[in-house]
């Protein structure tokens, strides 16, 4: 419960550093109790109530914090990417491989978002890369304030790269800007080819799609063309790379894409 405004804290958010020791509990949503917005009031004649026009974006607070993150990334020449997918599409596997093969070259640090457990953070830590685990508790997505907390703990160096693994979910994370440079969707061939048509919001906000687990294609009847059509239907400008995070197929094109984004920022 937030003492000032009495609203309930939906959070229970925890940030854990790479050593797995320091637990920092943060308020689920950033509050400052400023009342600096002009409200327009109208007296409703003959009633004991009045109507106050607010005209305020519901996500204004998140968008403001996301902008603050974006400025921080720009000022420090840090490239941040937001990786999103349904549960199990292979985000952590892709990250493990990416930090192992490219982590030192590009100075990659990872922020792991999951509702519970330190498991994915530990998988990244085992590769030796800097990592912070955020547990969202009931939350089904990361928001800009959680990312800001994660960044304070990760403390990325100037010119480095931060890869954020969002909570496994193809719906909610699409709505919450973190201040990242680009959003990357990971879809896997085991999920079926119509994913982009079923979750157009997610594909619409993404710059890149990695179609993962293509090593399994011989065992499935997954129509790659249908997937590509759907992805372009949801977002005509989207770029799609076909990869296997476990076997390494196509992974060099993902690395090229990362190097390209990183170079553009320097």
């Amino acid at each position: 419960m937030c003492a000032t405004c009495g609203c309930s804290d939906a959070g229970g958010v925890t940030v854990t550093d790479a050593a797995g020791s320091a637990h920092q509990h943060v308020h689920g949503h950033g509050h400052d109790h400023g009342h600096d917005h002009a409200a327009h009031e109208h007296a409703d004649d003959g009633h004991d109530s009045r109507t106050v026009t607010l005209e305020q974006a519901v996500l204004a607070r998140n968008d403001e914090l996301a902008e603050r993150n974006r400025r921080w990334f720009a000022d420090n020449g840090v490239l941040a990417l937001n990786l999103m997918s349904s549960p199990g599409a292979g985000k952590t596997t892709l990250l493990e491989r990416t930090v192992a093969e490219l982590g030192i070259e590009l100075g990659i640090g990872v922020i792991e978002g999951d509702q519970e457990t330190l498991l994915d953070g530990e998988r990244i830590r085992a590769t030796g890369a800097p990592v912070v685990q955020i547990n969202t508790g009931a939350g089904c997505h990361l928001d800009a304030s959680m990312l800001a907390d994660g960044l304070r703990t990760l403390d990325p160096a100037t010119g480095s790269m931060v890869l954020v693994e969002n909570v496994g979910n193809l719906v909610c994370p699409a709505l919450f800007d973190l201040g990242e440079d680009s959003k990357v969707v990971i879809a896997s061939v085991t999920e079926g080819a119509e994913k982009p048509l079923k979750y157009p919001h997610m594909f619409r906000v993404a710059q890149l799609v990695l179609l993962n687990k293509i090593d399994l294609l011989p065992h499935l009847d997954f129509d790659v063309e249908r997937f590509l059509d759907g992805a372009r239907r949801a977002n005509p400008r989207i770029e799609v790379l076909e990869v296997s995070a476990t076997r390494g197929d196509g992974i060099d094109r993902w690395y090229e894409w990362l190097r390209g984004r990183h170079a553009q920022l320097q």
Binding site: G6, H31, S49, V52, L54, A57, A138, H141, L175, F176
Partner: protein, 110 residues
């Protein structure tokens, strides 16, 4: 379910801006292309509002329709689905409206 955090943001915003009010009615605009399901917001509103200045308030939701302009032929039309195509067959649409997620107004006890 992001509607819970959306509803939480609505309640937080009103609590911040009007900490001493008793809100009787609140009006939201949830565009049909916003990715937020109005019914889910209705479903969790009372629970999230409990114990706040919005406790007991009536929730009104306006679901504004989507509008788009075709990038190929410039036609403007109503769309209520992100996968809509233009009559000319083009896919690339510029969304003009329907993504709103706004707190429009509140009615407070005088």
């Amino acid at each position: 379910m992001h509607e819970l955090s959306i509803t939480q943001s609505v309640v937080d915003t009103v609590c911040e801006r009007m900490p001493d009010a008793t809100v009787r009615r609140i009006r939201l605009d949830i565009g049909r292309l916003s990715g937020v399901v109005a019914d889910s917001v209705r479903f969790c509103f009372d629970l999230v509002a409990e114990g706040t200045v919005l406790d007991g308030a009536v929730l009104e939701i306006v679901e504004s329709p989507g509008r788009a302009r075709c990038r190929a032929c410039d036609a403007e039309f109503e769309v209520n689905d992100l996968l809509a195509l233009c009559g000319c067959g083009a896919q690339e649409l510029e969304l003009l409206a329907g993504q709103e997620l706004m707190i429009k107004e509140v009615e407070v006890a005088a």
